[in-house]
């Protein structure tokens, strides 16, 4: 069950519209390493996770990612609000505009709609956590690539915050993986899926 807090995790207050930048940043809304995929990945992996601490971290990070999704949506919305038809044309925003007007639609930077194909739920704690660590690194790289194109501090500050959270999450998932490995013992030395193959007691 979830409740909604009526605020952003980190403030987004952008004075200057910039449709070119919005087109790039939207990939963190619905792209392969975006926040929607991140949230869905962690929240879905919880069901086959046998260890309490790891269930907790997947729940809490999966929830935080929804807050990040909202922040990215706010950035895209504020970068494109009140655009004139001329600004849309000049900003290279016509292709997006013709399909979604100024709505925020989960897609990649190149306009491909969100796909669960970019994430995995393998049902094996080690496999899933290694995927999660890679996912946090991929999101960090994406935020660093976004920062190459962003000059406006109104945009850079929330993006930097999100980049830092990827690093914290990577650290926590690394610890979660260690917790899973600590549960492996002489009876499961070769790390067969501890969620499915129950080693003999």
């Amino acid at each position: 069950m979830w409740t909604y807090e009526k605020r952003l995790q980190f403030p987004v207050k952008i004075a200057q519209c910039n449709p070119q930048l919005a087109k790039i940043i939207i990939t963190q809304y619905g792209g392969p390493d975006g926040e929607l995929g991140a949230s869905l990945r962690y929240l879905s992996q919880r069901f086959s996770m046998p260890y309490a601490e790891v269930k907790a971290i997947l729940t809490d990070i999966g929830t935080e990612e929804l807050g990040h999704l909202e922040m990215i949506g706010a950035i895209v919305h504020q970068l494109t609000r009140n655009l004139s038809e001329d600004e849309i044309k000049k900003g290279g925003f016509s292709e997006y505009f013709v399909d979604h007007t100024l709505g925020v639609y989960p897609s990649t930077g190149s306009g491909v709609p969100f796909s669960a194909g970019a994430m995995a739920v393998k049902g094996d704690p080690i496999t899933d956590l290694v995927e999660d660590m890679a996912a946090e690194q991929k999101a960090r790289t994406t935020y660093e690539n976004i920062l190459r194109f962003a000059d406006d501090p109104d945009v850079k500050n929330p993006i930097r915050f999100l980049r830092e959270r990827e690093i914290v999450h990577f650290q926590r998932f690394g610890e979660a993986l260690r917790i899973v490995q600590d549960h492996l013992d002489a009876k499961n030395f070769y790390a067969f899926n501890p969620s499915f193959d129950k080693p003999m007691k």
Partner: protein
């Protein structure tokens, strides 16, 4: 920034410390240093919220019906520019 906004921002930053400690505690559930820090931070948070409510009314607006109005519907919503403070 006015005093109410400053206090709001203080509550947000102390709340964020608690939030981040929560992730740390998920993977270190018996770390006494972190537990002590969490408890201290929570006390600070509770005190700040109490101070806010004494001065400005309900902090969590979810069930605010003052003035015979369901305040949850009021603008601005968080993704709007005007909901976010400038000095951050």
């Amino acid at each position: 920034m006015n005093e109410m906004k400053m206090l709001e921002q203080k509550i947000h930053s102390v709340g964020f410390v608690m939030f981040d400690l929560r992730l740390f505690l998920d993977t270190h559930p018996t770390d006494m240093t972190a537990i002590t820090l969490f408890n201290k931070t929570m006390q600070k948070y509770t005190a700040l919220v109490a101070e806010y409510e004494r001065m400005y009314g309900p902090y969590h607006k979810n069930n605010d019906t003052s003035g015979n109005m369901w305040h949850w519907v009021c603008n601005p919503w968080p993704w709007e520019n005007s909901a976010n403070e400038e000095d951050n």
